[in-house]
Point group: none
Chain length 301, copies 2
């Protein structure tokens, strides 16, 4: 295997430029013998003479000229590596793969992506939308870099940052608009529509109603909050949704929303990433963007 060093290539370039060992050595801040030796070793490694040393001047051989052409490209590429690093230092670069659970993604993502596009214009953002256990797996495997989920998780390998708390509101048919706000216990007697298994939001809703392990009813699970609200609009039952979903989801169905009296159901939204991720500092900054997006979203309704 070829045993070239970048130093040799740089020395070579200097010698090409000055055509004089002493001057080139000065330019490289080394002594003339050091340069002589390195050039000689380069020639030995290549098995080719690069310079013709005449009494008055040092000049490239034909092969040396061809060689110099390529060396220029290489040295330039190496210098660009440094530029690349300098440009990237302390900043999110390249690809960012972000996971979001389905009960957050449709509401928060537009804002987040918009904000990220402004703050990091040349960041290549990939989004993965799926339930928490899968996100955890993909985070562990390094298939995503961070995730926005409901906390707490208590995964020891992950850093968790809580961003904001968010209440759940009751969605019921327009016809029920005047009725009193049900208590968590009376809720249990109503026909409560839920997301299908696997969504943490389902478990949070169930837990608020104090259902033990017993699922209230079979066969009425929706695959998204949008579906649930449409079902409520059709008079099939009632459901809970997080505040951030209110604006988007209640526009297209004859339903009304109402806050609960205390104690109110709620969830904590946060961001997670591997503790080992070297971009921790940057991800923490990113989490501020997400927090702000969430705050804006909950202010409106």
């Amino acid at each position: 295997m070829l045993n070239l060093t970048f130093k040799q290539l740089r020395y070579f370039q200097a010698l090409v430029r000055y055509g004089h060992f002493g001057h080139a050595a000065d330019a490289c801040a080394i002594s003339q013998p050091a340069l002589s030796v390195q050039i000689k070793e380069l020639e030995t490694a290549l098995g080719m003479i690069l310079f013709e040393r005449t009494a008055r001047q040092v000049r490239l051989t034909a092969f040396g000229a061809e060689f110099a052409l390529r060396v220029r490209g290489i040295v330039q590429s190496v210098d660009e590596l440094g530029d690349l690093a300098r440009a990237a230092r302390g900043r999110l670069t390249g690809r960012l793969r972000i996971g979001v659970i389905p009960t957050i993604a449709p509401y928060l993502l537009p804002t987040i992506i918009g904000a990220l596009h402004q703050s990091h214009p040349d960041l290549d953002i990939h989004v993965r939308e799926t339930v928490t256990p899968r996100l955890i797996q993909e985070l562990s495997d390094g298939r995503i870099d961070t995730a926005v989920v409901a906390l707490p998780l208590s995964e020891p390998a992950f850093t968790e940052v809580a961003l904001f708390d968010e209440n759940f509101v009751l969605v019921r048919p327009d016809a029920d608009a005047g009725k009193p706000v049900p208590s968590r216990d009376s809720l249990r007697a109503m026909r409560l529509l839920l997301l299908e298994e696997g969504h943490c939001f389902r478990d949070q809703a169930l837990s608020f109603c104090n259902f033990g392990g017993a699922v209230p009813r079979e066969g009425l699970d929706g695959s998204s909050l949008a579906t649930l609200v449409q079902m409520v609009g059709a008079g099939i039952g009632v459901t809970l949704i997080p505040e951030m979903a209110v604006r988007v989801e209640t526009r297209s169905a004859p339903v009304c929303v109402v806050r609960f009296n205390r104690p109110r159901p709620s969830r904590t939204v946060g961001m997670i990433w591997r503790k080992t991720n070297p971009l921790s500092a940057q991800l923490l900054e990113l989490s501020e963007v997400v927090r702000q997006a969430g705050a804006d979203l909950r202010k409106l309704p």
Copy 2:
């Protein structure tokens, strides 16, 4: 000024490849601590972390991935400096890594290697036998120098040299020896044995029979021409093989071969290499050797 060494880049590449300090260090023939230190110095020089070290695996950061992309180009260019020097010395020397597809290798290689041994006695020949897409990949990565494949490929990064055209012949059981030569259409009604997916020869055979996308039959794919011929000998069906395979493959099974009437199925065999490879002139000479080997082989049967 950036103080990278070429060694560090090679070590970096090894670590990218293996994702494991110990294994990468072995591949570089140094100890694990030496590798750790060099990677760390590289990271320090750049001011950027290249790898995320988790307990079980080492994986590139987003920046590291970007970096790796550029490093590949640089390392390849440096390797080509060595090739350039070799080429300038006028002859192929040292190592020549040549890839060959499986439907050519067993028949053409003995002749090629014999001829190369005569014309370039101190050439260290490595052979890689695998399907075309892999050869293309390995050629791009600089893991082989040239490949003998079926043309055309139309890879813009490669030089293609067509060497010779070669017909395919029908192989059927000895019992069928007297029967008339089937047309390409009647062939479709027979039980045609094919190589498994991935071999270009399979596609060429299918295309001759005018099978659209529909594969004729399931579960009868062979992993080599030798297997196919043996299956034919056992009376399971018929198959196509290239002329160069006739002598070797039909010796050990009760089968007979017959040429097709026009239009005859055929393939073009050629050699490819990276356009940037400074050994182009030598590879062109080499291609003459291969052409001659192919001609000799097809003259005999």
